[in-house]
Amino acid sequence: MTANYETHEHDVLIIGAGGAGLRAAIEALANGARVGLVCKSLLGKAHTVMAEGGIAAAMANVDKADDWRTHFCDTMRGGKFLNNWRMAQLHAQEAPERVRELEQWGALFDRTESGDILQRAFGGHSFKRLCHVGDRTGLEMIRTLQDRGVQQGIDVYMECTVTRLLKDGDRVVGAFAYWRETGRFVVFKAKAIVIATGGIGKAWKVTSNSWEYTADGMALAYEAGADLLDMEFVQFHPTGMVWPPGVQGLLVTEAVRGEGGILRNKNGERFMEKHDPKRMELSTRDVVARAIYTEVREGRGTPHGGAYLDISHKPGEYVKKKLPSMYHQFKELADVDITAGPMEVGPTCHYMMGGIRVDAETAQSTVPGLYAAGEAAAGLHGANRLGGNSLSDLLVFGKRAGKAAAEYAKNAPSGALDSTQIETAEREMLAPFEHKGEYPYEIHRDLQETMQSLVGIFRNEEDLRKALEHLEQFKPRLAQVRIDGSRMFNPGWHLTRDMRSMLLISEAVTRSALARQESRGAHSRIDYPKLDDAWGKKNNIISNQSGTMNLRQEPVREVPEDLQKLLAETK
């Protein structure tokens, strides 16, 4: 039945080759599994490469008083207590060991005077906690993991995109994909699958995310029957570039503020004094993003609609050494010398706190055989993620997912691939070649406008309802989308499939945002501007009920007594 397709068989198939996918692959392999790793781009180009500021881990190399308990409390507080407490605990406890492991695999972090890994301050962290390599920590991490994985013997399928998960009864047993280069289809058979495909930033107009960030993994999991959790929580990073237009949204690392950068409005006022006088620029991202947005909306923005971020009071050589890519980015793309004057910055869509609902210990989704880690998974960050907690998330839960998937695969019988599912997957990929509608780029542009203007930093019921109407109108347009050219490396064709994921998950975000009638973390409702204790005890769960998107609430897992005590003590 699969004779018509190129077929590959693995115990564990990992989808996505950023930090989480690579770490999962390494671990699954170490646990005896035959591992395949599928990624949309070339190996080493995943979005992890863009991570700048560092990895949060309570190693106490700089601030001796730091330990996992403080990191746990900071994470819970940053997430407005909507976090899965057990994930927050495991993350804080295991992050230091995961960082040391990276070093033992060849990563070279910046050092302290005594030769240990140097740590820097970051928003919402009580201590200097971010292990870093200048402002290119993500590159160091992905290269280290990539080289380790390749040396250990992972089979890598580069520039290959999964379009459907294949099921045998309740279980996930395989995946249907196409090669970008040839457009040929390929079937993967696997006993367990780990999704590590990142978020959905490309559904917004102003975003720090690359083209790959189209919610593929969340959509695949949803379509396969997995629950999605707290999808309303989308992080807008406070500092993206605002000008020139081509680089709007491009990330300006939080490390600029970590190294002492100051935010001012056009009148020269240090406006964070009004919003968080204690933590100032190093407040959490949700707070700083709203503050900048408010300054601009109330007419105190810079000429290009942002705020000034200034690090030029620090010695020029120091800035170039600690923030080299920021220096070059502004110099080359905006003609601004950040050692001599301020940058103009504004909020940019950056990260998805919501995602596939997983078990804290094993990273298993609600579908047997299906696991998720990294940004594609949800729970650790609650209503708002702290900077630096993403890279540590990738390592801690990538490892856990890889281990659990390998163990599951050991005991799972081989599943059967169903030819009907494969034929359906093939048909839906080929359909656009027959259609005569518009090109996918136009629908993408309209989706970005909708999400940007109606499901942005500040939300209200009217806007969210309007957004749902728009999303409904996009569906028939997407069903008629047309393709020019052949199946050979055809970006227009690739985008049609990405659009399906983006539409689906944008709807999940909008429905969840409409339901949560309160403001918490990154979710700000103008019509419900306060925290609501009742909502603080509820998670939003999205699921696929035979083709219809269902939304329900479930109680947040209760924090056990000892940790509650800890949270109360460190207030």
Binding site: D147, L333, E442
Partner: protein
């Protein structure tokens, strides 16, 4: 007023002459693209995709000069298209955009770079000296961090004449992988020697230090001076030093 605003004011559109085609052949095609302030070549290519040629094949990811995906030859020079400003180019004539020449063409601006991944696989991974203490001095780390900046855009591979003109892909590693080996060899805690690999399998001797690679590196890694020459010295010390040759002979190694 910055150059950025000046140039945007002088021209409101540009012509891009983009190579279209595959391994069987192809030709440059002209596209007119409206200009915006600060626009880069990759923005112009995206504009062509969105409005004129939806199947134009281009590799890209971060659009921030951090991932090294969008390499191409712009007006004959190997560049990251995300970092090449339109207003840095002569806009009164067509801007040519062609695929990297040293790798087999797949389609339009996309080439088959899989050879690089095969070379990388040959290099023994970081292997710590037995019983090391995980302490390092920043000064020692600085030297290696320069090599670790590499974003694998493969522009250095593209201009290296050993690959570009002589197609020694089978017996030569190329500047990118000399940089990678240098990063491992000079890692303060690494305990493995890769000099034999450099000499026998990576063809380090083919490099005659013309520095073409250094000139095109978007990360400004001093590939020739800081990576290749020190590696050549290591190979010479180990294999061609007369005293050491004698010692080896006596020991029967």
């Amino acid at each position: 007023m910055s150059t950025l605003e000046n140039n945007a004011a002088m021209f409101d559109e540009a012509t891009l002459r983009v190579y279209r085609g595959g391994p069987e052949g192809g030709e440059p095609v002209d596209y007119k693209v409206p200009l915006a302030p600060g626009m880069v070549v990759l923005d112009a290519l995206h504009s062509i995709q969105a409005h004129q040629a939806p199947d134009l094949a281009v590799r890209w990811n971060c659009k921030a000069a951090k991932c090294g995906s969008c390499s191409a030859e712009v007006n004959g020079r190997p560049r990251l298209t995300c970092k090449t400003r339109m207003d840095s180019l002569p806009l009164n004539e067509p801007i040519t955009v062609s695929p990297l020449k040293s790798f087999p063409l797949i389609k339009d601006l996309v080439t088959d770079v899989s050879w690089n991944y095969k070379v990388n696989k040959k290099i023994p991974a970081f292997t710590p000296k037995p019983g090391v203490e995980w302490k390092m001095d920043q000064r020692d780390v600085d030297r290696v961090q320069e090599f670790r900046k590499c974003i694998e855009c493969f522009l250095c591979q593209n201009v290296c004449h050993v690959l570009r003109d002589h197609a020694k892909h089978e017996s030569f590693g190329g500047p990118r992988f000399f940089v990678r080996v240098a990063g491992l060899e000079m890692h303060p805690l690494d305990g493995v020697s890769r000099t034999k690999l450099l000499k026998d399998e990576m063809g380090l001797g083919y490099c005659n230090i013309t520095k073409c690679c250094t000139e095109v590196c978007p990360e400004e890694i001093r590939i020739t001076d800081n990576a290749i020459i020190p590696l050549k010295e290591r190979v010479v010390d180990e294999f061609y030093d007369p005293v050491m040759m004698l010692v080896r002979k006596i020991r029967g190694a």
